[in-house]
């Protein structure tokens, strides 16, 4: 069965929409294959705008990996903006992939990568535009398997009605295993129900329909149990070991359209054991697995050749923590000196950072701004969240940076953390004032700047804060108002301090979706039916639409929005994701939560003995870190003078 491109129909709509280039595909290094020449057809969707989705490393890695399989094709899809959605409905154009503009409904499987829960409504738009029933239960053998992945898939319960399966953890081997299952027979060949059972037998794959959830009298979950013998009691996440064996992306996609990150990104390690208690990414991606210096060097060189990018991003959850970060940055800065290639280190910690590193990073480029994330304003709250950076460290680092020519420091914080009081937040003002004073002293100039960026804290599954009460939006907004007044209380310093924050309302909805159970699905569907789209974008997000839908859909099911968000959980409660195993020992998580309440810190297991979080034994892995003592050889040997 050949599948036609919808481009002829789409083409006449494109002159009528904003930024049509995002829908045309044809990016450098994209792949188009003959539909009939392969056995398995994957669509990979990022449920947000193209400009955000295209640079996503997860999608790029899986896209390349799957297309390397001779009998597999993978094409990409992104959310369409409401202007095109309206035209597609009017002219009956189905949702399409950008590579070959094939309709999504024709694929065997649609893998949807959820970096955030706020993409859930966009999933429903895509399914509906593709003519795929929203409810998994209503799909037939002719419909694609809808598969969720990404960090949000660690609690897919709120979208359990809409997805057929979810993949926990690293995707590299998982997509190949799922492909192997599909090779043995797609849903059209073996039937949807049989295929789902085969998927449930695949490591790391969770099939929600094979589990029954029973609720107790108090509104909580009584049990989650498999309703089929082929579904495991607990689904354990996948972990990719030895990143050097997976050097993706080799051929990064280079968009024509402008996107949020325009650079050659290399993941220098995966996982983080710093143990920040709010950080879901750090908890669910353990253990730390470093890519080798040579592996990084090869990926950078090959990627720059293939893309023509001028910036190299060294990605990870805390890039300065790589055991050989100094050698990596110096080696790359040496190698690309004079080629107008810049390096960036997106996530750095104050304590892991030093000025030598900063100098290497900026050697071939600008030194505009430095970004640090103390996350908490007071020493006490930083002990609660286990983000152990001292204010002295911060001031020492920014002083050195200002002395070296930097003019701007950006500081990230959270508001609404467990045990937080007004005083904890107000200490942010004092810290910012001292940064300005130190900066003026070190640079001898008055025009130094400090920007404070604050987000509302959202408790996430599989973290020690999964039991915590989320702060309500009024509390957060009130604290931020007081903080602004405190910053401006010293006008001489305050005028050099910028403050950027989002109000607390979107955080509450993110909290509902993060820690929700299957009952939240009805809220998502209702919000979508009432026009909810692109909820991660403030101009599209409607708090009222969400709270009204929650008020209509949750009470008949015995719960409400507060029950999911601002309520603290007990140790006995069955959490909606309890049957999904991130490797973390639940007892360790609970003890770490108690340590947080007692303001007790926990060291990093890379430098202190193992503290038994449980991940390594549960997933059969171990931390993989250097140093190896290797160095990066220059690619073009410099001829000896006179030689």
């Amino acid at each position: 069965m050949s599948v036609q491109s919808v481009f002829p129909a789409l083409e006449s709509l494109l002159p009528r929409v904003a930024k049509p280039v995002q829908y045309i595909g044809g990016e450098l290094n994209s792949t188009v294959k003959d539909w009939d020449a392969v056995n398995v057809h994957w669509a990979l969707m990022y449920p947000d705008a193209y400009e955000v989705g295209l640079p996503n490393q997860g999608v790029m890695i899986l896209y390349e990996l799957l297309n390397e399989q001779p009998d597999v094709l993978a094409e990409r899809a992104y959310a369409v903006w409401p202007d095109l959605e309206a035209l597609m409905r009017e002219h009956r154009v189905p949702h399409f992939t950008v590579d070959s503009h094939r309709p999504l409904g024709a694929f065997d499987v649609i893998g949807v990568s959820f970096a955030t829960e706020l993409g859930y409504t966009n999933l429903l738009t895509a399914l509906d535009l593709a003519g795929i029933p929203l409810l998994a239960a209503e799909r037939t053998d002719e419909h694609p398997i809808v598969l969720a992945g990404g960090h949000a898939a660690f609690n897919p319960e709120p979208i359990a009605d809409f997805v057929d399966a979810a993949v926990l953890g690293d995707g590299e081997q998982a997509v190949l295993d799922i492909t192997a299952v599909l090779r043995r027979g797609t849903q059209r060949e073996v039937g949807r129900s049989e295929l789902l059972k085969r998927l449930a037998e695949t490591e790391g794959v969770y099939v929600p329909s094979l589990y029954d959830v029973r609720y107790g009298d108090g509104g909580g979950i009584e049990s989650v149990t498999p309703n089929d013998p082929r579904a495991p009691k607990r689904v354990t996440k996948r972990t990719t070991v030895d990143l050097d064996e997976w050097p993706y992306p080799k051929q990064p996609l280079v968009p024509l359209a402008e996107t949020v990150h325009e650079r050659m990104s290399v993941e220098i390690f995966r996982g983080c054991t710093r143990g920040c208690r709010f950080c879901q990414a750090g908890m669910i991606t353990r253990p730390v697995r470093e890519r080798s210096l040579q592996g990084i060097g090869e990926m950078v060189e090959r990627g720059l050749q293939a893309s023509g990018f001028t910036e190299v991003g060294l990605l990870s959850l805390s890039s300065a923590d790589h055991s050989e970060i100094a050698e990596i940055t110096k080696g790359l800065a040496d190698r690309y000196e004079g080629t107008n290639t810049t390096l960036s280190l997106p996530s750095t910690r104050v304590d892991a950072f030093n000025i030598d590193l900063a100098n290497e990073i900026s050697r071939n480029g600008r030194r505009s701004g430095l970004t640090f994330a103390p996350e908490g304003g007071s020493e006490r709250i930083r002990r609660v969240i286990n983000k152990m950076v001292s204010e002295e460290d911060l001031i020492r680092t920014v002083s050195a940076a200002f002395a070296q020519g930097w003019r701007q420091v950006k500081l990230y914080f959270m508001c609404g953390l467990p045990t937080e009081t007004d005083e904890d937040v107000l200490e942010i003002a004092g810290m910012a004032h001292r940064v300005i004073k130190a900066g003026r002293e070190a640079s001898g100039r008055n025009d130094v700047r400090c920007t404070i960026s604050i987000g509302g804290f959202v408790p996430k599954p599989h973290t020690p804060f999964q039991w915590a009460a989320q702060a309500d939006p009024d509390t957060i907004d009130g604290r931020l108002r007081k903080l602004r007044a405190a910053i401006n209380s010293d006008r001489r310093l305050g005028r050099n301090i910028g403050m950027r924050y989002h109000d607390g309302q979107p955080s509450l909805i993110e909290g509902l979706l993060s820690r929700g159970d299957r009952r939240v699905g009805r809220v998502i569907e209702r919000v979508w039916r009432e026009g909810g789209r692109f909820d991660g974008w403030s101009e599209h997000f409607s708090y009222q639409r969400w709270t009204e839908a929650a008020a209509a859909e949750l009470p008949p099911q015995g719960v409400d929005i507060d029950w999911f968000t601002t309520r603290e959980r007990t140790r006995e409660e069955v959490l909606p994701w309890a049957h999904l195993d991130s490797g973390l020992d639940p007892d360790w998580l609970w003890d770490d939560w108690q340590d947080a309440l007692d303001s007790r810190e926990q060291d990093d297991c890379r430098w202190t003995p193992c503290f038994d979080c449980g991940v390594c034994p549960a997933t059969g892995t171990d931390i993989q870190i250097g140093p190896t003592g290797a160095t990066l050889i220059p690619l073009t040997p410099v001829p000896a003078a006179g030689g």
Partner: protein
């Protein structure tokens, strides 16, 4: 010493421009939806991929020296886009064209490159008019002929265009030099998808127009707006526009090729 930058000294003292090359390229098929900014970024990356020894501006944020003239609007295809590239050492123009073409996405196709002497007449001074082709699927030839006749019979026809600085009037008739209507099926570029997507509707009128460069520029959309204003012409599907040529207008309405004298 590596790792330090002296204040007031450029981080990357850029080698000077010693040669220039002029490039003509096409944007075809679905790539016509790329904006000028999109194409500019694509070329900046392509020169790196192709290993073109492009010269850079000085300062903390050096930019490759690519100079553009009158880019075709987003959504309009073109067989005649031009840019000039500054080089730190001379490179054979044909080699550069081939390498650059290989480094660009399919649909952005380098057609020709010629060396340009330092101090030669600027590209902008070699262009004062464009030839456009407008394909109007679903429009009968006779209907278009009548609309064009009416437009050409006027002295002046002003339409309004939304620009960044609000609505601005443009005199379409004043800019129009010639306008010819044809009705033969047009041979569109095949889709890059490998799927044929040429319009199927049998009637398809084609307008070829030579338009003088003015400020603000008269674009294909403005010509269509003018046809709607004089004859209420409303194409059932969005017409497709292609820039066929740019150059200096002579007395007989022909365009002189900007590379005419530079070609060896």
């Amino acid at each position: 010493m590596a790792g330090t930058v002296e204040r007031g000294v450029a981080a990357n003292p850029a080698p000077p421009t010693v040669a220039r090359v002029r490039v003509r390229f096409a944007k075809r098929g679905r790539l016509r939806f790329a904006s000028h900014r999109d194409l500019a970024r694509a070329f900046e990356r392509a020169v790196r991929r192709a290993g073109v020894p492009v010269s850079h501006s000085h300062g903390f944020s050096p930019h490759p020296r690519l100079s553009w003239v009158s880019a075709a609007p987003t959504g309009v295809a073109s067989e005649a886009e031009y840019l000039e590239i500054g080089l730190t050492r001379p490179v054979p123009a044909a080699e550069l064209a081939a390498a650059l073409d290989a480094a660009l996405p399919d649909g952005v196709d380098v057609l020709e490159a010629v060396p340009s002497a330092l101090g030669a007449t600027s590209l902008a001074d070699l262009i004062d008019a464009n030839r456009w082709r407008l394909t109007l699927p679903g429009v009968d030839r006779a209907v278009l002929v009548e609309a064009v006749d009416r437009l050409m019979a006027t002295e002046s026809l002003t339409v309004e265009r939304a620009t960044k600085n609000g609505r601005r009037p443009v005199d379409v008739r004043a800019a129009l030099v010639t306008a010819e209507v044809d009705g033969h099926p047009v041979d569109l570029q095949p889709g890059v998808d490998g799927v044929d997507w040429r319009p199927e509707e049998p009637p398809c009128a084609i307008l070829t127009a030579v338009v003088r460069q003015m400020t603000p520029a008269v674009r294909p959309d403005d010509v269509l707006a003018a046809l709607q204003a004089v004859a209420d012409l409303r194409p059932p599907v969005p017409p497709m526009a292609t820039r066929l040529a740019q150059g200096l207008l002579d007395d007989r309405g022909n365009l002189a090729d900007p590379f005419g004298t530079a070609r060896v």
